[in-house]
Symmetry: C2
Subunit: 826 residues, 2 copies
Amino acid sequence: MPAQLLSQPNPPPDASQLPGVLGVLKIMLDLNVLSSDELKDIQDFRRAANFIAAAMIFLKDNVLVERNITHNDIKNRLLGHWGTCPGLTLIYAHLNRLILKNDLEALLIVGPGHGAPGILSCLWLEDSLSAFIPQYSRDKVGLTRLISGFSTPGGFPSHINAETPGSIHEGGELGYALSVAFGAVMDNPNLIVACVVGDGEAETGPTATAWHGYKYIDPAESGAVIPIVHVNGFKISERTIYGTMDDLEICSLFSGYGYQVRFVEDLNNIDQDMAASLDWAFSEIKKIQSAARTGQPVLKARWPVLILRTPKGWTGPKSIHGEYIEGSFHSHQVPLPKAKVDADELNALQAWLDSYNISELIDIPTGTPFKNILRFVPSTPEKRLGQSNKANGDYNTLITPDWEPLAAEKGTQESCMKSIGKFLLEVIKGNPNTFRIFSPDELVSNKLDAVFNETGRNFQWDSAARAQGGRVIEILSEHTCQGMMQGYTLTGRTALFPSYEAFLGIVHTMMVQYSKFVKIASPGFCLSSPTSTHLYPQAHETKWRKDIGSLNYVETSTWARQEHNGFSHQNPSFIGAVLNLKPALARVYLPPDSNCFLSTIAHCLRAKNYINLMVGSKQPTPVWLSPKEANAHCIAGASIWKFASTDEGINPDVVLVGIGVELTFEVIAAAALLRKEVPALRVRVVNVTDLMILGPEKSHPHALMDSDFVSIFTKDRVVQFNYHGYPNELRGLLFGRPRTDRMHISGYNEEGTTTTPFIMMLSNGVSRFDVAAAAVRGGALVNEKVAVDAHIKIGVFMHRAQKAKDYAFEHGQGWFFLLIFVLPRT
Amino acid sequence: MPAQLLSQPNPPPDASQLPGVLGVLKIMLDLNVLSSDELKDIQDFRRAANFIAAAMIFLKDNVLVERNITHNDIKNRLLGHWGTCPGLTLIYAHLNRLILKNDLEALLIVGPGHGAPGILSCLWLEDSLSAFIPQYSRDKVGLTRLISGFSTPGGFPSHINAETPGSIHEGGELGYALSVAFGAVMDNPNLIVACVVGDGEAETGPTATAWHGYKYIDPAESGAVIPIVHVNGFKISERTIYGTMDDLEICSLFSGYGYQVRFVEDLNNIDQDMAASLDWAFSEIKKIQSAARTGQPVLKARWPVLILRTPKGWTGPKSIHGEYIEGSFHSHQVPLPKAKVDADELNALQAWLDSYNISELIDIPTGTPFKNILRFVPSTPEKRLGQSNKANGDYNTLITPDWEPLAAEKGTQESCMKSIGKFLLEVIKGNPNTFRIFSPDELVSNKLDAVFNETGRNFQWDSAARAQGGRVIEILSEHTCQGMMQGYTLTGRTALFPSYEAFLGIVHTMMVQYSKFVKIASPGFCLSSPTSTHLYPQAHETKWRKDIGSLNYVETSTWARQEHNGFSHQNPSFIGAVLNLKPALARVYLPPDSNCFLSTIAHCLRAKNYINLMVGSKQPTPVWLSPKEANAHCIAGASIWKFASTDEGINPDVVLVGIGVELTFEVIAAAALLRKEVPALRVRVVNVTDLMILGPEKSHPHALMDSDFVSIFTKDRVVQFNYHGYPNELRGLLFGRPRTDRMHISGYNEEGTTTTPFIMMLSNGVSRFDVAAAAVRGGALVNEKVAVDAHIKIGVFMHRAQKAKDYAFEHGQGWFFLLIFVLPRT
């Protein structure tokens, strides 16, 4: 009886009777897959793991309960989340069996990252902790350290993080485990990633759409995820949505998402249930993969999902002070919160810990687990969940092609995105299995579609397209793209995330969470950060984590050219998100033309461990620099642009700085205007392509020394910055540089609608006229010839600005950007 | 035959045969609800609307095609999204019928906001444009302006926004229409909100979980949403997920979410289909509502959802240059993009527009619609979708209780959250139907649970709790909470969104989008912003939009006291998000104690049109100020705290500034240390509670004049800021203030893990020892007595910092914050 049709009183049909049709079927299985020995041993493993997890939350001493527990044995502060732990140890124990039986390569991604005790206890039992952090040896000393140190300074933190061997996901900000799991299996055809999704996390939007992730997994080229929804029914104080859904609702929902649904919920026989369910899930996966790998892919393959229903805090205390604990929200965190001071709670803790009979499982004198409980721990270390090479760094160096052959000729016009589209095409050719593009907006819309000359969109559900593989994932969910990119990158590959500028902020906090993971994973790297001071809180070295690729974001369709889509499409705030990261990790580039963009993206794709943000235009814009000049400019991060300056920028009255494609264009146009209208004014034009050079000395590895800063920006002249982003963040960067009182910053000022590109410039005060007026104002302070009629010139520029706007309003359209085309004067 | 069970070959059972069970049923209906006259009239309305929508995208002249179209008649730039328009006009036409038939109060929320032409054409036809923007009269002049002005400066923008009468949602950043709709119907028992969700938007996470929104709607107290998923199958260049899902998948999915599913897809009979479907949906809603309102609520009520399947760009050109347009992604935006220059495309446009036979629908000489097509337009203006009072401002003034009776006694300790919990309890009592709390984290966890003395969690799906009403929505989806709050607020009520600090950034971009809507809705308000310069791009006055409540965020469980949950729970970036908004809208408060928090929240809940962010602690912390002092301090925004300063802060050597609860505590502790250790140093302690006072003169309505700034911060003394947020954003704010070179800013520096509260302070360089050392360094510049052994004192402080950390690491725990308790010296 393989499946049961819900809502039907009569015997259900076999699933195979519904060919090509997705039914609402509850999968039924025989539950006799474990021998009685196996059953005992797997139960013993779980029992030991549950004991250790519970002890970690409570005990600072007497960790194996060799004598009765006293209040003194209890930690001063009780921290940890017990509720989810017994479910995690159940899953862990059975994954070991699945791995061993099938010689699998596997990872476990844990959405409820606060269930760290449940995972750490299993890692200790399989001896994966000491493999990387020697003090956690699989003996009494190591176990004592693990238990008494947990959630205290110097011990493991309360949540899974990069210090946890085998983890590639923290699970602190809920919602992303599933998409990370999908990213990890891509191009890893033999990898199985089990992914635990808590029923709290299941309420989040990012998870709710990540269920569609399988529609982007080609079983011929990628591995598979076994999603396990852990429905224990409660959050901190309230029931969960999934906890109130009945079988039929859950079965319908997941059938609609495209899954086959198996409930794991036989509490009297949970190990047989879980073993049979994982066997079933794996066999379904193998069927789908085999079909695809023999050229007979299943259309709309129905992958397995497990719904695990166990009581919250299972095996914990049933009740205390007349309140239920097990099976209720009271077991979410610390079930006996007053154990340190309350005698009843202490007694309940003693009874609880005794109930595991730990002396049957661990040799108390030595602290070594008895052999039988390790029966299913894979003997090959790297097959253990904590020691997989996939999790701990297995970086595939990206082969980056030479970009100079793709460069545009100086003096022409070219779209940055079209240029890098051609470059990405070459990257894909050179790295057919280790590079992907995750794109919430369509590549066509961002003018990156050159890649489709070599590859396709990997959308399996489109039966018309019959996608077979393909490097491009297009799903209108920034969260899914980000999660997939994280999973793909943390397992050693390289990815790119192009986006409309305004909508990249949707993953702001995900990116920050990821950066925290990377910071912990590369402590030496971050400790060497120039802003580091002292007293880092991190407990463990993680040198065993190897390098990974960078997260690479390309922002395009920026506010400066979203005049057609209007105000909602105008938001450059992601720059600020990156600026707030640890400086050692963060890079922000605003290449001024397509050659600089090529140079930048080639650099970023090669670079390791960073978060790279590149901002540019998809419209054709002037190519200011030759490939060689572009390279030099990008290495410097900022240069004086002699061709646009008065006397090549020597001895200026005023410095005009462009940052960003369109904003730089306006600066160059302003300089041209000034040459004509105010010839006495000596203008220096500077472009900044690497934003990080601007911050104070030592604030960032790229930050210029003050002496270099002064040689570009002078020591006392007015500097007018025409900046693509929000002015406040640039002000923050410049704070601390010499004489900031002479610096004026214009940028995106939250003004916009559907209008013309030039009105976007005008209404944010960053047009050539605004820049020219500011230049005159600044130059007049030091140049008498300019000062004499400065107010008239400023009036003229402001009048022209008004005229430009009036023209657009009167004629229902505007000048379409250029007005003056300023060719490089080389 | 009311319903069809999918996946069964035999005649399906009646739905009523499955009592209490949710089946996968496809709702079947009789399709003869419109008389032939009605059918013709509703089709004519749609035909006219489609013509106008198409004309808006293309024509600058000859807008009623009174002569053959020439290239000159075509706009210079073609902007607009045709693909979704015919679906929107279909929905609009039939909603009118539903309103008229049932005398409904209704709103329409349009997820695909780029379908503005489809909505604006209907608004013009029903004469809702001229009601607010007189130039769009329902005559030839008005129609010409509408068509030729669309997507040009001075005309309507390409997306629905606050200039669009009847709208409360822009739909630019996709994902939020549905949650906004749920928020709008709450406590509006007679309101029906039809909500169009495009199949692109349906891919987003926020939408994917918003389907659960009905589980939080009590039909006794709230109205209902009619969700309409518009599956036209394509995005810009790719199929959508929903477009590739078959009936069974979609039916299963929505049944799982808890809905009854009706497909509207009979293209040969679409008007009968839509009319019958809306009648059915409304009757199902009435059944559920009646049951609940007569005390017999349906358990797990199954609300209706409509799946509208029509071809993309329906009624548009079938093909051009051998490529399909209608029914393909080519019709997503402008179907004939070269109509201005290509003769074939021009001819195709002529044929397309002619196909509507506009002269049958509108009297060409006058531009007036013929009466028959307006048959279903409600005669009462405010019943029209464009003129509902609910959309255009219907603000219910919140009655705010006096907070002073709830104040804590100065010198005691109190949790800010516990205090405001009591206040919110009173707010709920005083405003039983116009105030709600939307909470992604549980109120218990944020210590706001005092409100449960008066009200409950409104979670209908919890059959055990049998929730009946309740002011609190707890769903672990920040996106859903934010969307619901927006819908609730924009329809005239007041809401509060408490959150863990780290996770509020999840709705960063949603909040920015909302602020853009409010900016456009309150142009005078924003124009008066002190940073305003010139040349605003907005086309239309929107004075007809009335005041609304503020969006009110309370951030708690901040990084400073998330030492137990660790690094992933430490992220104060939402402050920066608010700082980048239009200054006239943005308010950021960091009240230093519970009395100040009470004063602040009372102010914020009363204030209108703002985005208010309040940041505070849930732990008990010292109460520094009496209620009267707290009020004065909050009005000032910043004060010298004489009780903590040397000689009441007169003539200081150095100024120490605390911003935020814990950071201020460390400043006060530092001042106490200094009094003892460096008695010669004259310290002034300042607290800033209103961040906006710091920005340069006129940068914000609250910004201090430079003279006032100097009187608090001195003109030349070193100022050490101990700031709760990221230092860069504070640097940006202070930039431009006198002599910033003497200002030093410490703040959250991305250092953290599971540790002690004091190590959090130490590792971010904001502990009392850091502040004291900085004070000595600064004071030594002006005070010889301090200078003489400054380096020794600094060494002592740094040594103590190291000792504090060593202690925590050695003992597996730390000082739990206070160390020195500094009572106000009054």
